[in-house]
Symmetry: D2
Subunit: 203 residues, 4 copies
C-alpha cells in the first residue's frame, strides 16, 4: 500500500465531458482542499463511461464499472458529487450507489466488507433545493456499505427557491461554502489517516 | 354539509403566537388565494396548543388535538405549513402527521377512511434547503392517510445555501413563489369541488 | 380523445425483459385492477429501452424516451413501478422522473403543463424496507410535474428487515397488499374520470 | 476527562416509561454490545422529559433539554433510537435533532463545534418499513452537527409490509439484526477511541 492517501471523485452530472459541470467544479474544490492535506486525487465523470444497471461488481461485457471500481478500491477517500434533479440525487449517482452496494459481499480475509476503512464525503449542487436530502440518502447508503462519514461530511450549494442559477456560473464561490468544503476535506483527511493506521476490528 | 368549501391551515412553526412566523405567512397566502376561489379559511398555530405524542385520535386528558381534529374533519382542504429544520419538516409537523395517522381507522359507514375526499396542499419555508424533501414526506403521509394531492400540490421558499434569510423578512414575495402559491390554491379548490360532488367509491 | 381511459405502467426494474421482475408483477396487478374499472392498460419495461440522461423531452439520436413519452402523453393514469435499492427508488425510476421533469415546459394552449389532468399511482417492491420513502420521492416529483395523486395513491411490498425475499417469489400476494392495490387502482380510476371531465382551470 | 468511553442512548419512543418500547429494547442491545467493548452506557426515554420546541441550547424555564444535553456533552457515543411513524422518525427524534442543531454554535476554544469527536449510531424499529430513510435523515443531521458516523453506523428492524408486528414482541432477535447491532457497536467503539486520542484538527 502506498504511503500517500488517495481520493477518488465520482462526478455524477447528467452531462458527459467536456460539458461544464457544477458537480465537477465542487468535486474539484474538495480535491484541491484534500491536496492541501497531502491527499492525491483523481476525478471521473461517470457519464463518460458505460455503467450498466445491476447490483453486481461486474455486469459483464461492455460494463465499464469494473474500471471505475478499481480506482475506488485503491482510494482512501470517496468524494461523491451530484447535481439536484427533481429534488433528488441524479440517476447516475443512484446508479453508482447500486453498484457500490455489491461491495458488501466483497470481504477481506478477516470478513470485513471491501469499503471498510474508507471515508466518504458528499458534495451536492443544484439550481433548486435538495442538498440536505441528497446528503442524507448518500451518507446512509455509503455508511451501510462500509464507508465512514466524517463530522461535517458534506459540502453543497443550492440556489434560492424558484430562482435557478448554477454553481458554475457564480462569480465567486460563497465564503461559507468554501469554508464548509475546506472543513469537510480537512476532516476526511484526518479520519482517513486514523483509519489507515487502525482499521476497524474484524468480528 | 355547508355549501361553501372550507380550508384549514395547520401552521407547524416551532414558535407560538404572537411570534412572527414565516410558515404562518405562507399559509396565509395560500388561504388568501383559496378565498379568491370561494373557499373559507381558518388557520391554527399548532404550537399554541398541547398536542400530545401518540397515534390515537384522542390521547386523553389535556390533549388538545381533538379540538384541532374537529376543525380538520370540517375542512375540505388541509394546508400543512412547516418550516425547515436540519433539512426536515418541524417536529410539530411530524407530530400532526402522527395524529392524523389515526384517521385510517376512523371509517365512514361505507368503510372509507375519514380523510377521503379531502385535498391537501403543503407549504414549506426555510432559511436553508429542504422544501422538495419535506413536500415528499408530507404528501406521502397525507396520501396514505386519505388526502388527495393536486397537480402542483405545494408551494415553498428556501433561501440560498448557507445564506440564511427568513421568508417573512423578504421585502416582497418573489413572483415565481406567488405564482406557485396561486396555482396550488387554484388546483386545490378545483379538486376539492370535484371530490365534494363525487366522493371516492367504497370498495 | 378516445372515450376509454388509458393507463401506462413504466416498470423501473434494473433488469431487462424477459427476466422476471417483482416490479412488473405489482405493476401488472395495478393494471389488472384498473381494467376492472374500464381502464385500458399498457406496460413498458424501461430497461428494455435506451433512455438517455438529461432533462429534455428528446435527448437526440438514439434516445428512445420520445417513444415512451408518446405513450405517456396518451395515458390518463401513470403507474410508476420501482424496486428498492439501497433504500431508494432504482436509478431507472429516477431517470424517468428526470425526463418527465421536462414536461413542465410543455404547456397546452392555455398554459397548463402537459401532465395536468393525469393521475399517478406509485407501486414499490423490495427485499428490504424503503417503500414509504420511495413513494414520498415519487409523488413529490409527480405532483410537481403536474400529476394528481389519489387518496391511497400507492401500493407496495417490502420484506422484513434483513430477511431478503422477492415479491415475485411469494406463494401468494398478501391479502392486505392485494386490497391496497385494489384501492389505489379504484381511486385512480375515479379521479382520472373526474379530471377527464373537468380539467384544472388555466391561470 | 475520564479514561472510560461513555455512551448515551436517547430513546425517542412516543411512549413514556414504564410502557414497554421497541426503541428502548434496540437501544439497550446497542448499549450492551458497547459495554462488551468497555463503553459505559446510559439511556434516557426522551418522552419522560419536557423538551421544548426550539433551536437553542436552553429554551428557558421548564425546559429539561439542558439536563439531557449535559449527558450528551459527557458522552463519546450517541445512540439515537427511534420508532417509525408514517415512514418517518418520530416527532420526538426530530425534536432532539432540532435541539442538537444548536451545538453548531457552541464551539470550543479552537473553534470546533461541541459535538466534534463524538460518534453517532442510529437504531430504528418499526411495524412497517422506514429504517433506511430514517437512518438517512438522522445521519445527515448528525454529521452536519459534528458527529462522526462509523461504517455500518446503524441497526434496525422493520416488519414486513402491511403485516404489523413490534420488535419487542418477537420471540427472539433475528440473528442478522443481532449481528448488525454488534457490528455497529464494535465500529462505534473503535472510532470513538481513535477520535478520543486524536480529535479533528481546528481550521
Amino acid at each position: 500500500m502506498p504511503s500517500t492517501l488517495r481520493a477518488l471523485a465520482l462526478v455524477c452530472s447528467l452531462k458527459s465531458s467536456p460539458d461544464p459541470s457544477s458537480s465537477e467544479l465542487i468535486a474539484r474544490q474538495v480535491l484541491d482542499n484534500l491536496a492541501g492535506h497531502g491527499v492525491e486525487g483523481d476525478s471521473v465523470r461517470v457519464a463518460d463511461h458505460r455503467v450498466d444497471p445491476g447490483v453486481a461488481v461486474d455486469m459483464g461485457e461492455g460494463d465499464e464499472w469494473p474500471r471505475l471500481r478499481q480506482k475506488l478500491v485503491e482510494a482512501d477517500i470517496l468524494v461523491l458529487a451530484t447535481p439536484t434533479w427533481v429534488g433528488h440525487m441524479s440517476s447516475i449517482a443512484q446508479r453508482v450507489l447500486e453498484r457500490i452496494n455489491a461491495e458488501l459481499s466483497m470481504t477481506d480475509q478477516e470478513g470485513r466488507p471491501s469499503m471498510y476503512g474508507k471515508v466518504a464525503v458528499v458534495a451536492v449542487v443544484g439550481n433548486e433545493d435538495g442538498a440536505h436530502k441528497i446528503v442524507a440518502d448518500c451518507v446512509q447508503a455509503l455508511s451501510d456499505t462500509g464507508f465512514t462519514i466524517p463530522a461535517t461530511g458534506s459540502t453543497y450549494w443550492n440556489s434560492e427557491a424558484m430562482k435557478p442559477r448554477d454553481y458554475k456560473d457564480l462569480a465567486d464561490t460563497p465564503e461559507a461554502v468554501a469554508s464548509t468544503t475546506a472543513t469537510a476535506a480537512r476532516n476526511a483527511a484526518h479520519l482517513a489517516k486514523l483509519l489507515r493506521a487502525q482499521q476497524y476490528p474484524a468480528s
